[in-house]
């Protein structure tokens, strides 16, 4: 059993805060890698939610944990592709600043 | 007895010719033209035959072809004609046939032109013979795109560019049709619980519509009024009409003014009026008022024009004002007059536009001050121009007289003094029609036009077909009126019953 002081709400608030930080980073950061990192933060928030819900709502089944593992795996794949593109675009333009990617109208 | 599917043949003859044309090399101009002429002639001949054998004593829907089409919407491929649609079908084919010959001297890109023209004619016919509202809608908008392409390629830029004219025509009518679509979809959706099954035939929707609450009927009718009203160029939704006609090539002007516009009136009568009697009753005075406003406004506007096409364009708005007034009376005489007047105006407007087309083709201008005395050089052209002008001002003995007279009677009975304004409109019509004729055709002949040849050969076809009908319809009005009345009267009797029941509730 969890200690009485930490409840589901605490985890959810932590998740929400983390998600908010990630979202803020996504919207404000100009560097493509920083944006990728912020997206990872948002996914972390999701994982925290999933695990907390698993523990408090459905402790008998592992649904949330399985879900979280999938999220981590897929996120790794996505970041892999993302980084590959960043490298390619860096070779092409020697720059990964999002504000300069305006060859297409943003 | 299994008879020929006349209506399907009539409907598809031009379309099939259009498809065949697509496979003829585009240098072969003459075969293409004759194919178009053949296709439209088949339709014309067969619809004239139907007109002859239609049993006016029995009335109702005849030559019915009905095949289930889309089950879950209750759509059936339902073609039939009655006393209202048969004259319109005949009119379409007369004008379509004439339009082919009016375009005989086209200069470029013949194949594309005649393909589009034939598709256009098929599309217009479809609206008049479909008795299922879904099929009706299919044809209703089909015509828009060929017209647009024809205007931008073969149109003429005078006061407005052809691109502007084409786009205005298209978007105006499409936005109008959006309201119509909403109205029809709503009517259909509301009819399902009343009928217990989806059914899109006119009769079923009318049956369901008659049972709807007065409030529903009113707003549904309003939506349809905007849709059909903008097609019939009801004031104040008329402004596309003069501009559009001015930019369009002759054949398109003929078909548009001659028949396409009439789809608006036809739809108002056959769909809106008979499906939503309470709505019609409510909006009738407004329709009549808008009609009278259109008559007066457009007549004065026509008076001020110097471009021949604008004169006829405004004149057609004015004539459609009579039709709106007639529909607004909601009685048998008025509706008879409305249908007959649509027929009459179709014939005269098409003849008018074909004559103007010839003038423009030969003199390269439509500007009245630049013209004059053409009657000397081109007497036959003058005949067709003046025939149309006289019919337009309602000269007795020509087709325009009886329908207008009927409308005045009905209007006077229904609205009394107001109708007088509309009668005043005819005086102005006489003024501008005669003045246009006088300044274009009479007066001292101009030297620069001395070497112009009179219309001959293929160019005579519009005059022969349409002029003949103008005179025949004037001398033997019963030919037209018996037919129209056989369609209108039974439907109006149903309508009166519905209004009585509605009144009791």
């Amino acid at each position: 059993m969890p200690t009485p002081s930490i409840t589901l709400e605490h985890y959810l608030i932590l998740g929400a805060v983390l998600f908010g930080i990630g979202l803020f980073g996504v919207l404000t950061k100009k560097n493509a890698i920083a944006v990728l990192i912020s997206i990872e933060l948002m996914l972390c928030a999701v994982n925290i939610n999933l695990l907390a819900f698993n523990k408090y709502i459905t402790p008998e089944a592992f649904i949330g944990q399985i879900f979280a593992i999938f999220v981590i795996t897929v996120a790794a794949a996505e970041v892999g592709v993302g980084l590959a593109i960043i490298i390619a675009i860096y070779r092409n333009r020697l720059n990964i600043n999002l504000e300069d990617f305006d060859w297409l109208k943003w | 007895m299994k008879s020929l599917p006349f209506l399907t043949i009539i409907l598809l003859a031009p379309a099939i010719c259009a498809i065949i044309m697509a496979f003829i090399p585009k240098e072969q101009v003459n075969p293409i033209k004759w194919l178009a002429a053949t296709g439209t002639f088949i339709s014309l001949a067969m619809s004239a035959y139907l007109y002859g054998v239609y049993d006016t004593a029995a009335g109702g829907l005849q030559f019915v072809e009905r095949v289930p089409w889309i089950k879950d919407l209750g759509v059936s491929y339902f073609l039939a004609v009655d006393g209202i649609s048969l004259p319109m079908l005949l009119l379409t084919n007369m004008i379509g046939f004439s339009a082919v010959f009016a375009s005989w001297n086209l200069e470029s890109r013949h194949r594309e032109f005649f393909i589009l023209l034939c598709l256009l004619i098929s599309g217009v016919m479809g609206t008049f013979i479909a008795h299922d509202i879904f099929i009706f809608l299919l044809f209703y908008e089909v015509v828009v795109i060929p017209i647009y392409i024809m205007v931008i390629i073969w149109g003429s830029s005078k006061r407005v560019t052809k691109e502007y004219a084409g786009m205005k025509l298209t978007i105006y009518l499409l936005v109008g049709s959006a309201f119509l679509l909403v109205g029809i979809i709503a009517l259909f959706v509301k009819s399902i619980p009343i009928l217990g099954e989806p059914n899109m035939s006119f009769a079923a929707l009318a049956q369901a519509g008659n049972q709807m609450s007065a409030f529903d009927q009113k707003w549904l009718f309003a939506l349809m009024l905007i849709g059909f009203g903008s097609l019939i160029s009801m004031w104040p939704f008329h402004s596309w009409s003069p501009d559009g006609y001015a930019g369009a090539p002759t054949a398109v002007s003929m078909i548009h003014a001659g028949v396409l516009k009439k789809i608006g009136g036809y739809g108002l009568i056959k769909i809106a009026l008979f499906s939503l009697p309470l709505g019609a009753k409510f909006w009738a005075p407004y329709m009549a008022a808008l009609g009278i406003a259109g008559v007066a406004y457009a007549a004065f506007a026509a008076l001020a024009q110097k471009d021949l096409k604008y004169i006829v364009g405004y004149s057609s708005v004015s004539h459609m004002g009579y039709v709106m007034l007639a529909i607004g009376t909601v009685n048998v005489i008025g509706i008879n007059g409305a249908v007959a007047n649509m027929f009459a105006h179709g014939v005269m407007a098409a003849l008018f536009f074909s004559a103007i087309g010839v003038i423009y083709e030969k003199t390269k201008t439509r500007w009245i001050p630049d013209l004059g005395g053409l009657a000397r050089q081109m007497p036959l052209l003058a005949v067709s121009f003046m025939l149309a002008a006289f019919a337009s001002l309602g000269l007795p003995g020509l087709i325009g007289f009886i329908p207008e007279f009927t409308i005045f009677i009905a209007g006077f009975k229904a609205f009394g003094g107001f109708a007088v304004i509309a009668i005043g409109g005819i005086v102005i019509t006489a003024l501008y029609a005669l003045r246009a004729g006088a300044n274009t055709l009479f007066g001292p002949p101009r030297e620069e036009y001395n070497n112009l040849r009179d219309i001959r050969g293929a160019e005579l076809v519009p005059l022969a077909v349409l002029g003949l009908v103008l005179i025949a319809g004037g001398l033997l009005p019963s030919l037209l009126f018996d037919m129209v009345n056989s369609g209108v009267e039974p439907l109006m009797n149903q309508l009166d019953n519905a209004l009585k029941i509605g009144g009791l509730i």
Partner: protein, 476 residues
């Protein structure tokens, strides 16, 4: 637990095909690589036939996590058809501009597989996996012209926004999971039907709508679409426009109509507003565009709005309307984009003004573009009219304003389509030599055009099939 793998043979075949194409790319000599396009397309036709033949072979796999019903079968038909048409239409383009045929076709197959998984997924995890399989494949495809800066930029934008939207979507899913205690959509539906409406649920719903809104490019989550559409290789743009959109609609329908039927009143109005705004913005912003791909992107945004209309009422009629519209939408989009990419191959330009006189150089291409665009505009006798009729029928009773907005805006959309028509038909070409259209492209063009016309005039049989499929969707 006994599992019936026979129902997922098409998926297994897809995986095998993807791997096989990749291996063939390694072992085949370089000069025969272009034939991989033919191989892929015919294999996909075979798989499509497999799906159609197994139409009634329905069932579940993995204890209900993976659901094969006629609804998902139908969506699979949509995806496979789109993939086949895209492969056919893109062979010339790939050989000339991209290279890397094996990777290209293989990844295309995998993205199609992702869509198929999405259509069949009955729980959040499987949905997410399908979605990401599709998305990551698309990211690679979007920046497949890896030496072209625009393509890379499009890929970059797509990967970032796809990541954000996935995160938002997952957050929403995690909240729904927390409330319902299960990730099975059907069970979620049963639990939410009796549950009181919670504020947390509302947050979850908004997150889901936002996340999926990104995928279908609904306003205000649409800003990636024009850039990505413009920068991506043209065949991929068309696949993105149809496949990605319709697959996202498949899970949108699954989650909302099945999973949140009980609270449909609260999200119905949200969808209605989203649809209205999307239709208006998409159509209005399309008007000033000068690049044909951007024009089609905005028109695609508007199309997403129309399809959303079917969601509003959460009814069988709505689902059916979406499926019908989705089916005809493939042919319209693929028709236009095949012509665009072929024209780009010849002239190297996507600017609308360079289409001058196309009708005289290649009547077939011009006619296909006109027919497809008018299908999207919903002008009869083309299939889009029937589709819109079905869509707006569902809302005319309760959301009359939406029907009026939608239909008026679809008439407005005719304006910008006609501007393209104007250029193609009125103007004289600078270079008036006729265009010879290669065989696979010609087949694609004629086929898409025929479908648009035939379904517009005679939609009856298709509509019957879809009715049954939509009914099967509610049978769980």
């Amino acid at each position: 637990m006994q599992m019936d793998f026979s129902v997922i043979i098409p998926e297994i075949a897809m995986v095998s095909l993807g791997v096989l194409v990749l291996i063939l790319g390694l072992i085949l000599p370089k000069k025969s690589l272009p034939r991989l396009g033919w191989f892929t397309s015919f294999s996909l036709i075979g798989i499509l036939a497999l799906v159609v033949l197994n139409w009634n072979n329905v069932g579940t796999v993995s204890g209900g996590l993976y659901l094969i019903d006629q609804f998902s079968q139908f969506f699979k038909v949509i995806f496979l058809t789109a993939a086949i048409l895209v492969v056919f239409g893109s062979m010339a383009y790939v050989d000339k501009h991209l290279g890397g045929q094996a990777e290209y076709y293989s990844i295309l197959v995998f993205s199609t597989l992702g869509m198929m998984v999405m259509a069949s997924a009955n729980d959040f995890i499987t949905m997410y996996l399908g979605l990401e399989l599709m998305t990551i494949s698309f990211i690679v495809l979007v920046c497949f012209r890896r030496n072209d800066s625009e393509s890379l930029e499009a890929g970059m934008k797509y990967v970032l926004l796809a990541g954000i939207s996935s995160a938002v979507l997952l957050y929403g899913l995690s909240l729904i999971y927390g409330i319902a205690g299960t990730v099975l959509v059907v069970e979620v539906g049963m639990i939410l039907a009796v549950q009181q409406s919670l504020p947390l649920l509302l947050v979850g719903v908004v997150m889901l709508v936002a996340g999926l809104g990104f995928k279908i490019a609904a306003v205000p989550f649409h800003m990636w679409a024009p850039d990505v559409y413009q920068g991506a290789p043209t065949p991929i743009t068309s696949f993105l426009a149809v496949g990605s959109k319709m697959a996202s609609f498949a899970i949108l329908i699954r989650i909302f109509v099945l999973g949140m039927f009980g609270v449909s009143l609260s999200w119905g109005i949200l969808m209605a507003i989203l649809a209205g705004v999307t239709i208006i913005i998409g159509n209005l912003v399309a008007i000033p565009q000068t690049n044909i791909k951007r024009l089609m992107a905005y028109s695609g945004i508007a199309q997403a709005g129309y399809i959303l209309v079917g969601m509003v009422t959460a009814s069988q009629a709505g689902v059916k309307a979406i499926m019908f519209y989705g089916f005809i939408y493939i042919f319209a989009v693929v028709g236009v984009f095949t012509a665009i990419s072929y024209y780009y191959n010849l002239t190297g330009s996507d600017e609308i003004k360079d289409y001058a006189g196309l009708s005289q150089r290649s009547p077939l291409m011009a006619a296909t573009m006109v027919v497809s665009m008018l299908t999207m505009a919903g002008i009869p006798p083309f299939a889009g009219f029937v589709g819109k009729f079905y869509l707006f029928m569902t809302v005319v009773e309760n959301y009359l304003w939406l029907a009026i907005i939608g239909l008026i805006m679809s008439m407005v959309s005719v304006y910008y389509y006609l501007m393209v028509v104007l250029v193609m038909y009125r103007d004289r070409p600078q270079d008036s030599s006729p265009i010879v259209v290669s065989l696979p492209v010609r087949m694609t063009l004629i086929f898409t055009m025929l479908v648009s016309v035939v379904l517009g005039v005679y939609p009856g049989p298709l509509s019957e099939i879809i009715n049954k499929a939509a009914l099967s969707f509610f049978m769980h």
